[in-house]
C-alpha cells in the first residue's frame, strides 16, 4: 500500500511566513518518495519551535531535552540499526548540543540531522544563537552581534561526516536532497536556513534575498559540500563485535583452599611503595596465598589519581572470618619499600606495636614497632624493581609466620605468565627472611 502522506491532519503551529513549514513539507515529500514504513522511522526533535515538528507526522517520534536530540538518536540507531532516524534541531541545538554534533559527525552514526537554522531563538523571544551573523540585531545583541557565526557545515564536514549540505527552505530540490541525505550511510547533516518572521526578519529587515546574500557575505558555500563513503557506526560496531562472539565470558578465578593457616586475630598488613613497583599485584598474590590457606582477605589500595607516579599503598586484612570492614587502621605488619611509601606510612611509626620491615636504606628509622631490615642483596639472584614488592612482602609474611612458602608458591603458579619472576621474588623473600620460617599451620 502506498503512503500518500506522513503528515497528520493538523496544520503546523508556526508563525505566518516562518520557513519551518516548508522544510517539513519537503521532509514529508522525501518520505513519500522513499515509502518508508512509518513504524521504521523515528523523528527525534530537539527543543524550540522546530521541536514541535514531530507531532505533525504519523511516524514514531522522540521529543527530548534541548541539545540532546543527537544522543537519543544515537541510542536508538545503536539498538535498532535497521530504523531510519531523522533529527530535527534548531540553530540553538548546535550551541547547547555542540559536543554531540561534533561527535555524531566523527562517529558517523547513521542519522540524518536537519538543522532548521533561522539564526535566532524564536520560541524564547528572539535571542542570538551560534549562527546569528556578526552585526545582526537580536533581543540579546541590541547593538549588533559581536560574535562570529558558527559554520555548522564546515565544522561537521572537516570532522568526517558522510554527507553535508547547506541550503535554504526555498531550495526547489530540497525533498530530493533529503532523500539523498537519508540514503547516505553514516552521519548526514543538512543546514537549512530559513526565516524567523517573528523576530529575525523584523529586527534585521531581512527576507528571502538577504538570506542567500548572507551566506555569500559570510563566504559560506551552498549546496552539497561533502559526500563520503563511510562505515555507518551502528553497523560497524556490530561487525566489530562479531569477533568477540566466541570470546571467553567474564570469569573470576575460583580459589580452593588446600591448607589451613590459623590466626587468633585479624592481621593488618600494609605494603607502602611507589607506583609502577607492582605493589598492588604483590599484595594480591599474598592475599590469594592467604585464601589458599583458608583465610579471608580484603585488599584495599590507595594511590593518587595519576596512577603511574607517586605512592602506591596496599593494605590486606587477613582474618579467619569474613572481613566486613577493610578500612585503614594501624597496621600489624608494615612494609616500607620507597620514599613515596615512607611518606604515606610514616605516621604509624611512632606508635606501631607490630613489626616494621624495610629495605636497607631505611635501616636507621625510629619506630616503636620491631624493626627488621630485609636486604635484597641476600637473595641469590638480583631483585629487580618490579619484583621488590613481592620479594620483601613475602619475606615479611614468612618471617611473621603468617603463611607458608607452599601457599605463596601455589598462589603465583596460578598465573603462569608471571610465575617464573614471581617464584624468584618469593625465593628472594625466603633468603631475606633468613630461611623458611615455620608457619602457624594446623
Amino acid at each position: 500500500m502506498t503512503v500518500e502522506t506522513y503528515r497528520t491532519e493538523g496544520s503546523y503551529p508556526f508563525c505566518p511566513g516562518c520557513g519551518h513549514s516548508s522544510v517539513l513539507d519537503s521532509l514529508n515529500k522525501a518520505l513519500v518518495m522513499q515509502q518508508i514504513d512509518p513504524a521504521n522511522l523515528v523523528i527525534v526533535t530537539d527543543i524550540g519551535c522546530s521541536g514541535l515538528s514531530d507531532q505533525y507526522f504519523e511516524t514514531s517520534a522522540f521529543h527530548g531535552l534541548h541539545g540532546r536530540s543527537l544522543t537519543y538518536a544515537t541510542g536508538i540507531k545503536l539498538a535498532r540499526p535497521d530504523l531510519h532516524v531523522v533529527v530535527i534541531m534548531g540553530d540553538g541545538g548546535t550551541g547547547i548540543g555542540g559536543a554531540h554534533l561534533l561527535n555524531a559527525a566523527r562517529r558517523n552514526i547513521g542519522v540524518t540531522l536537519l538543522v532548521l537554522n533561522n539564526m535566532n531563538f524564536g520560541m524564547t523571544g528572539g535571542q542570538h544563537s551560534t549562527t546569528t551573523p556578526t552585526g545582526s540585531i537580536t533581543a540579546t545583541t541590541r547593538s549588533g552581534n559581536l560574535e562570529h557565526p558558527l559554520d555548522i557545515c564546515g565544522t561537521v564536514g572537516v570532522n568526517g561526516a558522510a554527507y553535508v549540505y547547506r541550503g535554504t527552505n526555498f531550495d526547489k530540490d530540497l525533498p530530493e536532497r533529503i532523500v539523498e541525505a537519508m540514503q547516505t550511510p553514516g552521519f548526514a547533516l543538512m543546514d537549512i536556513w530559513d526565516l524567523c518572521t517573528a523576530y529575525f526578519v523584523p529586527n534585521n529587515t531581512f527576507g528571502k534575498r538577504s538570506l542567500i546574500a548572507a551566506q555569500e557575505e559570510l563566504g559560506l558555500e551552498a549546496g552539497l559540500l561533502y559526500k563520503r563513503d563511510v562505515d555507518e557506526y551502528a553497523a560497524a560496531y556490530r561487525a566489530a563485535g562479531e569477533r568477540f562472539k566466541d570470546a571467553k565470558r567474564l570469569h573470576v578465578r575460583a580459589i580452593t583452599p588446600n591448607s589451613i593457616a590459623e590466626l587468633d586475630r585479624p592481621m593488618n598488613v600494609m605494603v607502602a611503595g611507589s607506583a609502577g613497583g607492582k605493589v598492588r599485584s604483590a599484595a594480591k598474590m599474598i592475599a590469594e596465598a592467604a585464601i589458599r590457606s583458608s583465610l579471608y582477605v580484603a585488599q584495599r589500595d590507595d594511590y593518587p589519581i595519576t596512577v603511574k607516579s607517586g605512592h602506591s599503598v596496599s593494605q590486606i586484612v587477613l582474618s579467619s572470618r569474613y572481613v566486613d570492614f577493610p578500612g585503614m587502621q594501624e597496621p600489624d605488619v608494615l612494609v616500607i619499600l620507597t620514599d613515596d611509601g615512607m611518606r604515606k606510612s610514616r605516621r604509624y611509626l611512632p606508635t606501631m606495636k607490630g613489626a616494621v620491615y624495610v629495605v636497607p636504606q631505611y635501616a636507621d628509622i625510629e619506630t616503636t614497632g620491631s624493626l627488621m631490615v630485609l636486604d635484597p642483596a641476600r637473595a641469590e639472584s638480583r631483585v629487580g624493581r618490579s619484583e621488590l614488592a613481592l620479594a620483601v612482602l613475602s619475606g615479611a609474611v614468612l618471617h611473621q609466620g603468617l603463611l607458608t612458602v607452599d601457599a605463596l608458591r601455589s598462589a603465583v603458579n596460578a598465573y603462569p605468565a608471571f610465575a617464573e619472576k614471581n617464584l624468584q621474588a618469593i625465593d628472594a623473600g625466603i633468603a631475606m627472611a633468613g630461611g623458611e620460617a615455620p608457619a602457624n599451620e594446623a
Binding site: A39, A61, K245
Partner: protein, 366 residues
C-alpha cells in the same frame, strides 16, 4: 571444601547486569566507576550487546534512554560529578517512564573532591537530583554479593515501575577486593518487559504500563507533559493524572521496593542503622559488642529510597536510642529522625575521607 573468589564490587555489578539481561551500556570515564565502563565494553560485545563510551555523561545517559525506547535493557555508571550532568535526563527518564539502571559509585565531594576517596554524600543528591520532586528508587549494596543481587533487583524494579533506578555504591565497595564464597551470589528474578505494538504508549494507572518500542509500531515519546498518547498536553486534568501517576506508581507499591536487613537482639536498647560501606563496619562492631556481652541491634538499609519506613519502624520497637552512621555531613540521619517517634537519634559521621571504623560504633555502647 568450598571455593572462593578474590574480587570486587565492580565485577559483581557487571555480572549482575549481564545476568539481568542488560544489553546496552553507555558511560563516560570517571574514577571510581571506570572499571564498570571498561568491563561492560569488554563483555557486552560477547553477548551481542552494545557498550558505548559517550563524549560526555550527558551523551551517555541520552544514548541509554534512546536505546531503551528501541528495546534495549540499559545501564550507565558514573560518580557524583557525573550524576550532576545526568540530572536533566534523570528527570526526562522519570517523565518519559524509561526503565534504566544508574550506578553511582560515590566519591568524596563536593566538586572534583577526592576521586579515589570513598564517601556517601550522594544519598540525598540522587533523591532530589532533578526538578519536580518526584519519587525515585535507590538501592545501596553493602558488600560484594549484595552488589550482584541489588544490581539484578535494580533492573527488576526499573522494569516493574518503568523508571530509572539508582544503585548507590562507593569507591570502597566497588574497588576493594574481598574474599567471596563462589556460592554467595544470590540471583533474583527480573521482570520480563511487557510490550505492545499498538495503542497508547502510556497508561496513567497501575505501576507499569506495557512499553511500545520503536520499530514495532508508530510509537511516540516525550519529556513534556503529555496525555496517554504521548501528545503534549497542558490540560490540568491530564497533567494532574500524569503527575499523580508518576508519584503513586512508586509510593503505592512500597512493599515491593523497600528492603532492609534487620539484626535484632532481644533486650537491646540501642539500634545501629547504616548502609553501604559503613554497614560493614557496623556489622563488625555488632559482632565485637556481642562477643563482649553487650546488647545491640542493627539494621542495614538496602532500599534507601523510598525509605523503608515500615521495616524501620518495626526495628525501632523497644529501642530508645538510634545511631545512624554514614560518610557524609549527616544526611540520612534526618530521614531517621523524621520517623523515629521521639526516640533519641545520634548521627555518626565522617567527612575526612577515612571510613567509619567499628570502634567508632562501639563508643556508643561504652
Amino acid at each position: 571444601m568450598s571455593a572462593y573468589e578474590f574480587t570486587d564490587g565492580a565485577t559483581a555489578i557487571v555480572r549482575g547486569a549481564l545476568d539481568a539481561g542488560c544489553d546496552f551500556f553507555a558511560g563516560y570515564p570517571i574514577t571510581p566507576a571506570s572499571q564498570i565502563l571498561m568491563m561492560m565494553m569488554a563483555e557486552l560485545p560477547k553477548t551481542g550487546g552494545i557498550a558505548m563510551q559517550g563524549e560526555d555523561e550527558i551523551a551517555s545517559i541520552g544514548m541509554c534512554i534512546g536505546a531503551t525506547m528501541a528495546g534495549a535493557r540499559a545501564m550507565t555508571a558514573t560518580s557524583g560529578p557525573g550524576i550532576s550532568l545526568y540530572s536533566e535526563n534523570i528527570g526526562m527518564a522519570i517523565m518519559g517512564e524509561v526503565p534504566l539502571v544508574i550506578v553511582d559509585v560515590q566519591r568524596l565531594g563536593p566538586s572534583t573532591g577526592g576521586a579515589t576517596t570513598a564517601a556517601q554524600g550522594d544519598v540525598e543528591f540522587v533523591r532530589w537530583g532533578t526538578g519536580g520532586g518526584y519519587p525515585i528508587i535507590a538501592l545501596a549494596p553493602s558488600s560484594i554479593p549484595e552488589s550482584y543481587t541489588l544490581t539484578m533487583k535494580a533492573f527488576d524494579l526499573a522494569e516493574r515501575f518503568r523508571c530509572p533506578v539508582f544503585l548507590l555504591t562507593d569507591k570502597e565497595i566497588n574497588l576493594t577486593r574481598n574474599t567471596v564464597p563462589t556460592d554467595a551470589y544470590v540471583s533474583v528474578p527480573v521482570l520480563k518487559r511487557e510490550t505492545i505494538d499498538q495503542g497508547a504508549p502510556y497508561r496513567f494507572s497501575g505501576n507499569s504500563s506495557p512499553m511500545e518500542l520503536y520499530g514495532t509500531g508508530v510509537v511516540r515519546f516525550t519529556g513534556s507533559t503529555h496525555n496517554e498518547e504521548a501528545m503534549i498536553s497542558k490540560d490540568p486534568e491530564v497533567v494532574g493524572r500524569l503527575n499523580e501517576h508518576l508519584r503513586s506508581k512508586i509510593l503505592s507499591h512500597r512493599d515491593e521496593i523497600e528492603m532492609l536487613v534487620c539484626d535484632p537482639e532481644v533486650g537491646a536498647t540501642t539500634l545501629f542503622v547504616s548502609y553501604g560501606i559503613t554497614a560493614g563496619a557496623m556489622r563488625e562492631a555488632v559482632t565485637k559488642a556481642r562477643s563482649s556481652g553487650m546488647k545491640v541491634s542493627a539494621v542495614t538499609v538496602q532500599t534507601l529510597w523510598p525509605i523503608p519506613e515500615t521495616g524501620l519502624k518495626q526495628a525501632f520497637e523497644g529501642v530508645d536510642r538510634i545511631v545512624v552512621a554514614e560518610l557524609n555531613p549527616g544526611l540520612y540521619v534526618r530521614e531517621i529522625e523524621r520517623i523515629a517517634g521521639g526516640r533519641e537519634v545520634h548521627g555518626l559521621q565522617r567527612i575526612d575521607g577515612e571510613l567509619i571504623s567499628p570502634s567508632q560504633f562501639l563508643e556508643f555502647l561504652a
